[in-house]
């Protein structure tokens, strides 16, 4: 099979800079489908290159977008790539260049270790822990290299190819008493392990375990708090309780049957989660999506953005103790779901997008309810402004609380409304339009103080912009097919199956096995409800993905909780949690 990625041209600006300025020439360039400059370098040069990219390159690559690894031991199509058992991938993003760069380090089985970069990017801390947890790659010099998503007592590293993926591959589960003791002991929070002291200058600290079941942590999430009275000295977020192995499942599901899993990653974003996944598969397969499908996808995505933001808005008010708004916003959200149900047949997780288009064409009269809704919501939003945003108690509770600057946001890999609230008008839909967003007229709302209040203001304004986009979809919905006429779409085109045997066979194979997607790599990012959501897919020319990496926005956002909450009160922490707008499924995957 021909490696599809060979056709892609390689950009060269930054690579020439690296050779000339850093005198590093022993790197390999890898062509990828997404056109992101991909450099293979060595362990020795890793920190040099990353430091250069972050601090010296002008403009710099400020944001550590993703840090992950791939177990390459079973990969067949590695034409022209350096020998590697495990590859660690660093993905950086530059706002000023509007360009990404990917740095890969090949590791062999004998030496699975790399120097840490958690001192260069604080956000690398959790990412490196995740890579250690999932692949067993050691990061030398990391302050707390321990499991982050799997339980502390877990044996093995789940995303390695030789780790089992299903319970049926394991011994039957049993929990003898001594094992139970060990498990319980492992859950005990020992402050010293995290460099926390039990006694302050004049007082003993109280350690409060908030979660994993607490009404305001929005899911199964634990924060260990070090308190002096009600003042937070330090906070330690503990994630992993919602881990379902979505990335591992990606290696076991066909390209098509994985779509419903994506809905449940950010479970409030519904089909919007499908979008980066199907876009990535389409790019690997070389499918061109028809205009109508693009417009439908945009419309559905924006409806889900509305649904997600409405829920955020309600819980935000509720978390600062305002009881009623959530009920009004739920009513509006129900209306969004009614629309989505009438189009796709499902409400929260419609899995409506398909490789190559969408599942069904829009039903007759689809626009009536949407039109009613976009006439109805603005007045309600104005009402909520008076009820929630202009409430003086709410303002006192959230203004100046949990604030961070643009520079801090970028250091910690914050994206989405949390980044825009600091004043940086950077929206993926504008900066790098996908699925036809370049055709829509909308604005990027921003704040300037970056506190809890402004994060909400930005999202409220985003709802108005979403309504604008939906209105434009209504007025300019293109006609034509809702799915590409390409053999790799799912379900594949059926019209000619009874006319010639080749189409019939192709159809039969694509339906029973699923489509065979050409080998290659791509990473597609979208502006999701909570920030930048990306699917970094590696295909080895099979019916299943070789590696499915899901970069979710909530993961780095939660890592910021200690930075945002030190010196604040417990009640402020609740406001901060509410303003981050996260769901644990989006963090743990």
């Amino acid at each position: 099979m021909k490696v599809h990625a060979d056709n892609i041209a390689i950009p060269s600006g930054i690579t020439r800079e690296i050779s000339e300025r850093l005198k590093i020439n022993d790197y390999t360039l890898q062509p990828t489908c997404d056109g992101i400059t991909t450099i293979w370098s060595t362990r020795e040069n890793l920190r040099v290159i990353l430091l250069y990219l972050k601090l010296q390159a002008t403009p710099p690559y400020g944001l550590l977008f993703d840090l992950t690894a791939v177990d390459e031991r079973e990969r067949i199509h590695r034409h022209g790539l350096p020998e590697s058992a495990f590859t660690v991938v660093y993905h950086l993003l530059s706002f000023a260049r509007n360009e990404d760069i990917r740095l890969k380090i090949a590791l062999n089985d004998a030496q699975l270790s790399l120097p840490t970069i958690s001192d260069i990017w604080p956000s690398a801390n959790w990412y490196e822990r995740e890579v250690w947890d999932m692949f067993g790659i050691v990061f030398e010099g990391h302050p707390h290299l321990r499991r982050i998503i799997m339980p502390p007592t877990w044996q093995g590293h789940p995303l390695r190819k030789d780790h089992y993926a299903r319970a049926t591959e394991m011994e039957p589960f049993s929990l003898p008493e001594e094992r139970q003791e060990i498990e319980q002991d492992a859950l005990r929070f020992v402050p010293e392990d995290w460099g926390m002291r039990r006694h302050g200058k004049d007082s003993d600290f109280m350690f409060l375990n908030m979660g994993p079941n607490h009404p305001s942590v929005h899911g199964a999430f634990r924060i260990a708090l070090q308190l002096d009275g009600e003042e937070i000295i330090d906070a330690l977020p503990d994630i992993g309780y919602h881990h379902r192995g979505a990335e591992k499942m990606g290696e076991r599901q066909s390209w098509h049957t994985y779509i419903p899993y994506t809905d449940r990653v950010d479970y409030l974003g519904g089909s919007m989660n499908n979008l980066p996944y199907v876009l990535a598969v389409e790019q690997l397969a070389g499918i061109k999506v028809p205009e109508r499908a693009k417009a439908i996808r945009v419309m559905i995505s924006e409806l889900y953005r509305l649904a997600s933001h409405l829920l955020f808005y309600g819980t935000y008010a509720q978390d600062v103790g305002q009881m009623s708004p959530i009920f009004y916003m739920f009513i509006d959200r129900e209306k969004v779901f009614d629309i989505l149900e009438s189009i796709s047949g499902a409400r929260m997780h419609s899995s409506y997008f398909r490789i190559g288009g969408v599942a069904l064409d829009l039903p007759r009269g689809w626009d009536i309810r949407i039109r009613e809704f976009i006439d109805y919501l603005p007045a309600r939003l104005d009402q909520y402004d008076k009820m929630v945003m202009q409430n003086s108690t709410l303002k006192r509770r959230t203004q100046g609380v949990g604030a961070y600057t643009t520079a801090e946001a970028i250091e910690w890999s914050a994206t989405g409304a949390g980044l825009r609230a600091t004043g940086l008008a950077w929206d993926y839909r504008k900066a790098r339009p996908y699925s036809g967003y370049e055709n829509y007229d909308f604005e990027i709302p921003t704040g300037n103080r970056g506190d809890c209040y402004e994060r909400c203001v930005v999202r409220v304004e985003e709802m108005r912009q979403s309504l604008r986009i939906i209105k434009q979809c209504l007025d300019n919905m293109p006609t034509g097919p809702y799915k590409a006429n390409h053999p790799l779409t799912t379900p594949p085109p059926k019209e000619r199956t009874l006319h010639d045997i080749e189409t019939l066979i192709q159809h039969f194979l694509n339906v029973s096995w699923g489509p065979v997607i050409p080998a290659g790599e791509t990473c597609i990012t979208i502006e999701a409800t909570k920030g930048l959501n990306a699917y970094y897919l590696t295909s080895d020319g099979g019916t299943m993905s070789y590696r499915t990496r899901i970069r979710t926005p909530s993961f780095p956002h939660l890592q910021m909780i200690p930075v945002m909450s030190r010196g604040m009160m417990v009640a402020d922490l609740i406001a901060i949690l509410a303003s981050i707008d996260f769901v644990m499924a989006d963090v743990d995957r």
Partner: protein, 320 residues
């Protein structure tokens, strides 16, 4: 003249009606909040869901009465009874109508203040005895909040005392024949209202409970009938607070003669209760330190100013 008014049957009558009102309030609050929040609320059990109260009661009585093994058992059991008893005994001085009531007490107002301060022990002890960090934080908040707001509460009603020249609640009502004290004592009323909400730990000032922050605060560990005591005790407290507000500022039983005085009193109290529920549904909760700052920096000076101005006016009008 500290005279008893009612006999044993009156006492039992008032006790029973107060408890029934408090229990019914569970339903009233849920239904009213539901109406304001575009929902239905409990409407399945009995006519208009009224029997929900009975169902809830049965459930609470038969729930496992769990005492956490790590708690201070005696205090844990006693704590919920304190709020219930103090709030109920508060009704002894309430002047329902001429001739209706339990005792005509010269220091009725002080008695009310004393009992309302006592009720905080319930919360603090519950928080302490639960031996749970959330409960402890709730208990601490309750202690700070109640101790502070007691001060403003006392100061805010001194204006009423000056105008009427007595601590006797019945005489205070009589003193309002020419006009309710809400008009001359409007600021006093506002301060008293805020203080009363803070004292009874009702939303939006339910900081010791603060579900979103402290998962129930002081009553996190409570279940069954002991939780029920806190629950109903809160409604008794609202009823008592409304009754006192009506007595001090809205002329108690006074009203046009086409309705008997007792009905006027009950109607006014009911409006007060509904207003409390509305407040809970409408407003967000301030932060603990903000509530304290607001109390000491705004309410205290305002209360003192109100006291000074009222004193000056009273002196200049009736001065000797």
């Amino acid at each position: 003249m500290n005279t008893g008014i009612g006999d044993a049957s009156d006492i039992i009558g008032i006790l029973v009606s107060v408890i029934i009102t408090a229990a019914l309030l569970i339903w009233v609050e849920r239904r009213l909040l539901a109406v304001w929040q575009d929902r239905l609320g409990p409407n399945r059990v009995g006519p208009m869901g009224l029997m929900q109260v009975v169902a809830d009661m049965i459930k609470m009585f038969f729930k496992e009465d769990w005492i956490p093994p790590f708690s201070d058992k005696l205090v844990f059991v006693l704590a919920p009874t304190i709020v219930f008893i103090t709030m109920l005994t508060g009704f002894a001085v309430i002047p329902f109508a001429p001739g209706v009531g339990i005792i005509d007490f010269n220091f009725g107002l002080l008695y009310f203040l004393a009992l309302s301060s006592l009720s905080v022990y319930s919360i603090v002890l519950a928080g302490y005895a639960s031996n749970n960090k959330y409960s402890l934080l709730g208990g601490l908040r309750a202690a700070a909040q109640t101790v502070s707001y007691e001060v403003f509460m006392g100061i805010s009603i001194m204006g009423v005392v000056m105008l009427s020249g007595t601590f006797n609640l019945r005489e205070i009502v009589e003193a309002q024949r020419d006009g309710w004290f809400i008009i001359p004592q409007f600021f006093g009323f506002i301060i008293f209202l805020i203080a009363v909400i803070a004292e009874s730990r009702r939303g939006p000032l339910d900081l010791p409970e603060a579900e979103q922050e402290l998962v129930g605060g002081f009553h996190t560990e409570y279940s069954g009938m002991k939780f029920g005591m806190f629950f109903v005790g809160e409604y008794v407290a609202i009823t008592l607070s409304s009754a006192i507000i009506v007595t001090l500022f809205f002329g108690g039983w006074l009203g046009p003669s086409w309705l008997p005085p007792l009905v006027w009193f009950c109607l006014k109290t009911a409006v007060g209760i509904v207003f409390f529920i509305l407040l809970r549904g409408a407003l967000p909760r301030p932060r603990y330190d903000q509530l304290m700052t607001f109390g000491w920096k705004v309410l205290l000076p305002a209360g003192l100013l109100n006291l000074l101005v009222t004193g000056a006016v009273v002196l200049s009008l009736h001065g000797t």
